[in-house]
């Protein structure tokens, strides 16, 4: 042992490092990008999580065809639980995920973002609207999905378009919203924006409620008692079904049920569970761009992989999850490495044209906070059991129905 000199040790170390680093750089182009995908595939939000998963399942094959890169998905179920989301994110990083994508729910996403930042692993948010996710000064967290105030603003602006198109303006409205992270962010956004927009109605009451509630009799009764002409609703899926049922039972027929941008009303389970009572509910929401070639390819791949599913019911969930993986794959292609820092830098430089994305909006470019600006919303109305674009007119698939016909 005494024969090892400092010079010999230095040469050996340099040689080892060169051997260790050089092949990695050389083989980077042929490496796979391991994407750790976190979604609530069981628990309260299971249906939406599984809907997102469908978009992810299509991604590896479609991205291989379009970008020529290999993506491997490492799937993790957050079980609709914040603590599980956090621990699964840590496990995915241990398993070698180069990028994390997820996690649909704002609370879960905030937990995953924290873990990603601590470990220096890029995290691309597929869907989550709480503004604080990109307000923490994180360097490794990126979001293509618009934050709640932007969704709310786009959604509220489109309300004016609905009234103009229908030539009917409600004078009063009541606002009901889920009281989870997302719902409260949306409520703050609506409260801040409503006075600034010259909408014709006066807000009579704001009623928060538990998204896990199995009985919304009191909430609906309270909203009905305001005699409001319009119901503004920020909901999730299960509560939306319970709430709409209760509206029918209590024979409350406002001119419209409009969500300024939340899940629930446009989803398959809502239409299946309520039948004709699901029709005519409106969501002003982010959506996919039906005119882009990549959307056609995505929809065709979706139909091939899931022949029993209607693409429209998975419009937002599948599209935004796919685009999050697209962003990762695009960055990997440019970075030519799976090094997490280099990937984060490449993601920061992303510039995907508006026509090369599935989701509806301008080019995908991240601002200094890691947020994409310029995502757009459409007016989506349930017609004949299917979510249908009714505004803007240039994208409309059918004519708007407003006021909604009375039921019950």
């Amino acid at each position: 042992m005494g024969s090892v000199t400092r010079r010999a040790f230095g040469i050996a170390t340099a040689g080892t490092l060169t051997l260790a680093v050089l092949p990695r750089r050389l083989k980077a182009a042929s490496e796979k990008l391991k994407v750790g995908l976190l979604l609530p595939r069981s628990g309260l939000q299971a249906l939406i999580g599984q809907s997102c998963q469908k978009g992810a399942d299509i991604a590896p094959e479609l991205l291989r065809q379009r970008l020529g890169v290999d993506v491997e998905l490492l799937n993790a179920d957050t079980e609709s639980n914040v603590d599980t989301a956090r621990s699964r994110a840590e496990r995915l990083i241990d398993q070698g995920a180069h990028v994390l994508v997820g996690a649909f729910d704002s609370g879960h996403t905030a937990a995953v973002a924290q873990v990603a930042e601590q470990h220096g692993v890029p995290h691309i948010v597929n869907i989550a609207a709480a503004p604080q996710i990109t307000e923490q000064g994180y360097k490794f967290v990126f979001r293509n999905f618009p934050p709640a105030p932007e969704i709310g603003r786009n959604g509220l602006v489109l309300l004016g378009d609905i009234f103009a198109e229908a030539k009917v303006s409600p004078k009063t409205a009541v606002f009901m919203h889920v009281n989870d992270t997302f719902g409260q962010s949306m409520a703050k956004g609506v409260a801040a924006l409503l006075p600034k927009l010259s909408l014709p109605f006066k807000l009579l009451d704001t009623i928060p409620y538990d998204p896990a509630a199995k009985d919304l009799t009191v909430e609906v009764s309270k909203a009905k008692a305001t005699n409001a002409e319009l119901l503004l609703l920020v909901c999730r899926l299960n509560d939306a079904v319970v709430l709409r049922r209760e509206m029918v039972k209590q024979r409350w027929n406002p001119l419209g049920v409009v969500s300024p941008g939340s899940p629930g009303l446009y989803e398959e389970q809502f239409s299946k569970g309520l039948g004709k009572y699901a029709d005519n509910c409106i969501t002003n929401t982010v959506w996919f761009n039906p005119k882009n070639d990549i959307t056609h390819a995505f929809a065709a791949a979706f139909k091939k992989r899931f022949p029993k599913d209607e693409f429209a019911f998975h419009g937002i969930n599948a599209s935004y999850t796919f685009d999050a993986i697209l962003i990762a794959a695009d960055a990997f292609k440019r970075a030519k490495t799976t090094d997490r820092k280099a990937l984060a830098e490449a993601i920061r430089q992303t510039n995907i044209a508006a026509t090369d994305r599935v989701t509806f909006g301008g080019p995908i470019k991240f601002n200094a906070k890691g947020q994409v600006e310029g995502n757009r919303s459409v007016v989506l109305q349930n017609l004949h059991g299917k979510p249908t674009v009714v505004l803007p007119k240039e994208y409309a698939e059918a004519k708007l129905v407003f006021p909604m016909p009375k039921v019950g």
């Binding site: 538990d210 009985d215 009191v218 909430e219 309270k222 299960n238 049922r245 039972k249 569970g273």
Partner: protein, 291 residues
Amino acid sequence: MPALPHLANAVVSGILTGTVYGLMALGLSAIFGVIRLVNFAHGELMTLAMYTAVVVFQGLALDPFLTMFAAAAVFAAFGYVLQRGFINRFIHRPEHAQMLLMIALAMILGNVLLLGFGPDARNVQTSYQLDSFELGPLLLDKVRVYAAGAALVATALLAAFFRLTLTGKAIRACADNPVGARVAGLPVAHLYAVTFGLGAASVAVAGCAMVPLIDVTPGLGPSYTLLAFVIVIVGGLGSMVGALLGGVVIGVSEALAGVLIAPSAKSMASFGLLVLLLLVRPQGLMGAGRR
């Protein structure tokens, strides 16, 4: 202050919802009252009953309020076998061992349902599901009225069974003094199993009555177990009328809290009531005092 019709509607709705809650807690109360076993799988058994009603509806288009008769019989038999062949072995073991057994049973049931049905919410769609009776300014949800009726009938039948039949009297004797009952030659294991069977039958009736009101998912169990505990503690552990009364008290207090304070204060009202009652009347509204 809300308008009177609005308040009246909330109270009536609270009574109806509470009666259905009471029906749900009935089985838990009966089992605890006799066997002194805390059934942590109560919510999962009810979820199983709800799935049974959904499957029968989808396969045979049979209304859940008709399915409940057959479901009660099947669940009674299932409960009897479960108690006689399985739970009975744990009756004389420490309480924590019983608790672990019932939690394990709850987890197994919940996960079997998840395996079998997936996480999707399932429901039934009957022709009257979204109808209401109109009584002046009051709107009474048809399904809740039917469910409350089923709850009252089930409670009356169960109470009559325990008071008027020989088996019922023997079960009460077991509940009062298990050692004395054994000395007198009563088949205690059989009577315990009959009780568990009756408890399971009540759960089946409750599950069938609830399914037109609530979509069922495999994860529904724990929240119902918790709610049933709150109701039974408020009403008085072991008292069947107490379970019904506890349900109504919780239902009405939640409705009033929702109207007078805020809808999100509903759970706070029921748990606040529970804490208050534990402080001033720990045996519950209808429970017997410490002997």
